[in-house]
Subunit: 419 residues, 2 copies
């Protein structure tokens, strides 16, 4: 039994062994401090809200991915103009994002980049930025700059405080560290720290994920691996269909292990599999930790290439399907309705539907399940992870979306708090 | 103060006077009975679940509109093949829709159409059908046929029982009867009965609306008026973004008043205004009665024609915006985020935003509101009807969507009951 690879959909790759989850690969250090951005409910030591992660080697290469919202935060704008292929550090904060604040927001982002760089003794263009929290409120500049400096003096070999400092409505930290045995016999380490619980959807979402390895990898290869892994992980999840303005993935490879992974080698394949599993499981943690979530669904859609994505999104984002998932109600009618909505008027409705492997509709017509089959189905959807499979006419397309249920807690979180 | 025109967005047209809400125009009769389709919780007189509405005149013309889901119920399929321009009656039931049941569902629909027609002594092709309730479960045929016959013997001059018989999760009946004074000096009556509370969205939604007038109108004119009014009413509302499989609007004009409304006359304009107000208010009743709803928002978007609709839908369907509406939280950040999501990566984010008439963002940047302006805004969003206005670059496009808030009650209704 794996501690980290808890989902039935993400088996642990055999070449990967789990190390302590807050461990960092060789040559990385991190810290997290309370800088006063998160409000302090009732005094005492405040929650951590500024984190800094650093790779010590000048040989470090990096790859970045951001959300594709028309409205993006100043940290993304500033990081995009930095040296994205050779970043050495990332400064992240929670409690307040830095979005829609115009010139002032950009100045705050640039000042924080500079403060972190000076404290680390590196160029400002080597520092990436990430902010999460309330949108449209001014990010307190002085607190962030002080936090950056405090972090630089508190750097240590584990990611614990860093992970805490990037959380918003997350129930807890999301991280893992793997030791990956490569086919060549060498061993490298690979770690990831993520956050994300709400405003999670299309493409990847209100989330950060920072990935580090001590392998030596060509930047182009790291970039390719990062892109593919993002597409199969944070791109395939939805809590509430809401695309954030601040989503950020940054991957680092610093070569500190002395192990070089050649491009297009068996080693790259094995390493990529581990990175894929790491990021898929981190993505699933976000869905399972989706604000108030109690259950995770996976909808797989097969059919014509131009149809599968919109059908999968329609099912995953339907509040009726999501409420039924909460209630452990195998409500195939709502699934078929959302498929029909996505297909649109006049489209042939020739749809096969299975829930937890039990077929409930064939060619658009609901099957008559006998009482025992129905009981089996009702028990099956009480599982914490529920499979929905749809087959449509046409060929060549197949996609999946992981989604959380819609709960009272989601409504409470998002109506009673300004997040 | 109007009893029916309660929304600030739908003033009573001066030419319209409200009659008793369950009144029917001259020459119409209706009934509703308990036929045993809705389950009976604990014995006693059961809830009404089959309704019949009839126009007595052979001169009756009609117009119909249906949802544009790829999956539509058998009643819509059968009604579409009936004489849609000259329907005389509609047989409606609640408690169970008739969707995704293949040949059996079609046979049930045709049998019920025939039963109603025989009981009324008219051709089957003059009877429209409408079913609402759980999707994908067999509609009990015998109960529906018995209900049709019982209704035919119970027809009376008011719509009370008919309105009750079409409800599902609605809190109560939605209906009105207006007396419309035409510019020519003549007077006609116009009534509408509707249902709809959940699975309400894009274009018009899990809803029925039946409209009757005793005016004499050309069928083409009635069809045109019906189309325009649907576009401005049921087409502009969203409870949960879910398009139903059974939405049905049927309008009847029977000429029983002896008043002929000429096409393209001042009378038609005045009548059309009254019909528009009637249907818009009925649509707003659906939003206000959206499963669990406590507050209604209206988002108005102005800008380029190819953008406004998708931006308005993105705001209206965002569970984050809807949760904030519940919490009376003027959360402009979530509104801007959903606009940015709809616009997509790289689009210029030049957006003006006002909430309840108070501007909060200009050209994509959040304005610094002082404490008093902020307090005014916070009080303003406690209103039961909240206005959101967005201006985007471009010209020629303007649209509106009315939407309900997302509440705990919505989650309860849709997770604890199979609807």
């Amino acid at each position: 039994m794996s501690d980290f690879f808890r989902s039935k959909w993400v088996p642990r790759p055999p070449q990967a062994i789990e190390l302590a989850p807050d461990r960092l690969p060789h040559g990385y250090r991190a810290a997290g401090v309370h800088a006063g951005i998160k409000e302090l409910p009732g005094g005492g030591e405040g929650p951590l809200d500024v984190g800094l992660l650093v790779s010590d080697s000048e040989e470090t290469v990096s790859a970045v991915r951001f959300c594709d919202n028309a409205l993006v935060g100043a940290p993304i704008a500033v990081t995009s103009e930095a040296r994205t292929a050779g970043l050495r550090a990332v400064l992240a904060n929670s409690g307040n994002s830095n979005v829609a604040d115009g010139a002032r927001g950009l100045e705050t982002a640039r000042a924080s980049q500079k403060a972190a760089a000076q404290a680390l003794g590196i160029d400002a263009e080597l520092v990436g930025l990430a902010s999460t929290g309330v949108i449209g409120r001014e990010l307190p500049r002085d607190a962030l700059l002080a936090g950056a400096q405090a972090c630089a003096t508190a750097l240590g070999p584990d990611s614990e405080d860093f992970c805490q400092a990037i959380l918003t409505t997350d129930k807890g930290p999301k991280r893992a560290c793997l030791e990956v045995a490569l086919p060549s016999g060498a061993v490298v380490q690979l770690a990831g720290q993520a956050k994300g619980a709400g405003m999670i959807s299309p493409r990847f979402a209100t989330m950060f994920c920072f990935v580090e390895t001590d392998a030596q990898i060509e930047q182009e290869t790291l970039d390719l691996l990062t892109g593919v892994c993002v597409k199969r992980s944070f791109d395939r999840i939805s809590v509430d269909g809401q695309l954030s303005t601040s989503d950020t993935v940054i991957a680092f490879a610093n070569g500190a292990s002395g192990v070089r992974i050649e491009s297009e080698s068996h080693d790259e394949l094995a390493f990529g599999e581990a990175m894929d599993a790491l990021m898929r499981q981190l993505a699933l943690e976000m869905v399972a930790d989706g604000e108030g979530a109690t259950r995770v669904g996976r909808v797989v859609v097969r059919g014509a290439t131009d149809v599968v994505e919109r059908v999968a999104r329609a099912v995953a984002d339907s509040p009726l399907v999501k409420s039924a998932l909460l209630g452990a109600d195998p409500n195939f009618g709502r699934i078929l309705q959302s498929v029909g909505q996505a297909l649109g008027a006049g489209a042939p409705f020739v749809v096969d539907l299975s829930i937890q492997g039990i077929q409930v509709a064939s060619a658009g017509v609901v099957l008559d399940l006998d009482a025992e089959a129905w009981r089996t189905l009702e028990r099956a959807v009480e599982s914490p992870e529920v499979d929905i499979e749809l087959s449509l006419p046409g060929e060549g397309g197949e996609t999946e979306v992981f989604f959380s249920d819609l709960t009272h807690e989601y409504v409470t979180i998002n109506s009673e708090y300004s997040t």
